[in-house]
């Protein structure tokens, strides 16, 4: 498959507008502006594009809800919070192909009737902030942003908003609270952001990768796009692969590429002498899979059937040197730290799970601790205000399901056999 999202990024000046234009950039914007917004909307629906932020919601559907709301102005927020541990897929777009994102956002603004966009960028990406700001400035100078885009009287303004280190701000309603200057605590839904979002106006939140697909849909048409990769969720997908593989990195592959191929073909297989033990396939919030379960298609429909989730497509590969109790403990330390504190099951549950896992990891686990973990996770599941708490519970359940013996060993032997 030809690359689109990562096209031209080997060019050291790929972030510069003249290089982007030389490689065909902003041509899709010009093409889009010759079409009517509703025609483009049809193409998007035909394309079958689903959001790449983790939940896989159909983009065309989300957009038609926002478009149907008569209130103006409407805001377009790009979710560049990329906080899910293991995930670094949006970073190459932000740092090496920023004009692709800008082009995608201008097209989106045109379709949605939105004249104001913001890129909510995680605070941990200071270099990307400079690159994006420089790219936005160039785009204004070339009339791809501003009050008269391409001389067609079309208006779209764009600014970067930097977060400050809070994972929960990746959740779309928390992101909106945060951009309004508040603590990033999720809002009740409904009303949904498409009706009452930022500054109480209709607001569309989409991931960096989702918005960067727009120029591609314009380039090849919705029909052709829908034929790439999986039938039920087509298109190119970025996978970030980390851990004990030979060639970790970000790979652009058709949606539905098998997890096995990602590990053994694209990422070069396991590092010398090591053997696969487990994979976290979609970022730390997705349940772990054991080595014998990696023969599955990486998309939003197949992964739940395989016992996990596609999430952000962040594949964390672990060899046999890794202690799963320790991974579970580290993951829960993360969730406890990032819980926003708004709802009891998550605030208390993550704290408890972490405490029990910590004592197991340190060799002080007690008889009945595995059941205790399952109980706490079971109580949390489906009772938290937002998916963060559910994710934490699911992670613990997955670990116990596939690696119960390791948890039992820790309790029985009072130590970890893998620790030297």
């Amino acid at each position: 498959m030809d690359k689109f999202l990562l096209r031209n990024i080997e060019n050291p000046n790929s972030a510069d507008i003249s290089e982007y234009v030389k490689a065909g950039g902003y041509r899709n914007l010009s093409k889009a502006l010759e079409l009517s917004p509703s025609d483009i909307m049809e193409e998007i629906k035909k394309s079958g594009l689903r959001g790449r932020g983790g939940a896989g919601f159909p983009t065309g559907m989300k957009w038609s809800f926002a478009k149907a709301d008569p209130k103006f102005p409407k805001y377009l927020l790009c979710n560049a919070d990329e906080g899910e541990p293991g995930t670094f897929k949006d970073r190459p777009i932000l740092e090496k192909n920023p004009h692709l994102l800008i082009e995608g956002m201008v097209i989106s603004g045109y379709v949605l009737g939105s004249e104001y966009g913001y890129i909510y960028l995680r605070g941990e990406y200071p270099a990307a902030a400079d690159i994006l700001n420089a790219a936005i400035k160039q785009a204004y100078e070339s009339n791809y942003l501003g009050d008269n885009i391409n001389g067609k009287g079309i208006k779209f303004h764009l600014a970067v908003h930097q977060g400050a280190g809070a994972y929960i701000c990746g959740e779309e309603t928390a992101l909106i609270e945060s951009i309004e200057g508040k603590k990033g605590q999720p809002r009740n839904k409904p009303p949904f952001p498409v009706n009452v979002g930022a500054w109480s106006m209709p607001t569309i939140v989409n991931n960096v990768e989702t918005l960067s697909n727009l120029p591609y849909i314009i380039e090849i048409g919705g029909e052709a796009y829908s034929n790439i990769g999986s039938k039920e969720c087509p298109g190119p997908k970025l996978f970030s692969v980390s851990g004990h593989v030979k060639n970790p990195g970000v790979y652009e592959l058709p949606m539905g590429t098998s997890l096995k191929d990602i590990i053994y073909t694209h990422a070069g297989g396991m590092r010398d002498g090591s053997k696969l033990k487990a994979v976290i396939p979609g970022g730390i919030s997705t349940p772990v899979l054991p080595a014998d379960a990696v023969d599955c298609a990486m998309d939003f429909v197949a992964m739940p059937k395989a016992g996990s989730m596609l999430g952000s497509g962040a594949v964390i590969v672990m060899d046999e040197s890794v202690c799963m109790v320790k991974v579970a403990y580290r993951a829960l330390k993360f969730f406890e730290h990032e819980s926003c504190g708004k709802c009891v099951p998550c605030r208390e549950g993550t704290d408890w799970l972490r405490k029990v896992l910590e004592r197991m990891e340190k060799g002080n686990g007690k008889e009945g601790d595995i059941e205790l973990l399952s109980d706490i996770a079971g109580i949390m599941l489906g009772r938290t205000f937002c998916p963060l708490g559910d994710g934490a519970a699911g992670v613990v359940m997955g670990m116990i399901k596939h690696f119960r013996n390791e948890f039992e060993e820790h309790i029985k032997e009072g130590r970890c056999k893998l620790r030297n």
Binding site: E124, Y125, G163, G165, G181, W199, I316, R330, F334, E338
Partner: protein
């Protein structure tokens, strides 16, 4: 109080949003740059510049982990220890930073050269372990590489 240049910078930030409160996060970054950390005085300046109650400024600032609520050293090391970094040895690096530079997680070395903050994934998992020193990324870390890198931060 902020000087004229900084107030102008904050005015420019405000102009990017439909509502002045939205300028709070970026303005806190400005205050942190000016004062080195978010002292009481720093937050008071933000409150005045944005005309937002101090309680809201403090409440918001306390929620986010990248704001500093006590003085920090000349350089802030932000080391990731989340899973991708952990399985490639990040924890040993925490110990190394302590023995070699006398800096503990959440603390500052006696000579005020370094502060250390433990991070939850900085998006460099493919080149783990990784850290930010101030705003610079450094990855594929080992003890030796950390020594080489930190030479440049006096």
């Amino acid at each position: 109080m902020f000087n004229e240049t900084v107030l102008k910078e904050i005015d420019d930030i405000k102009a990017r949003y439909p509502d002045r409160k939205s300028a709070l996060l970026p303005s806190l970054y400005v205050a942190q740059r000016e004062f080195g950390w978010l002292s009481h005085e720093a937050m008071e300046c933000v409150s005045k510049a944005l005309n937002v109650p101090e309680a809201m400024v403090r409440g918001t600032a306390s929620f986010y982990s990248m704001y500093r609520h006590r003085p920090v050293g000349r350089h802030v090391i932000q080391l990731c220890t989340n899973v991708s970094c952990m399985i490639l040895g990040a924890e040993k690096l925490v110990d190394f930073l302590e023995t070699r530079y006398g800096v503990q997680p959440g603390g500052t070395s006696h000579d005020s050269r370094f502060s250390l903050v433990i991070m939850e994934c900085i998006g460099a998992c493919g080149t783990a372990p990784a850290m930010l020193v101030n705003t610079d990324f450094h990855d594929n870390l080992s003890e030796k590489r950390i020594e080489e890198i930190l030479e440049k931060y006096k």
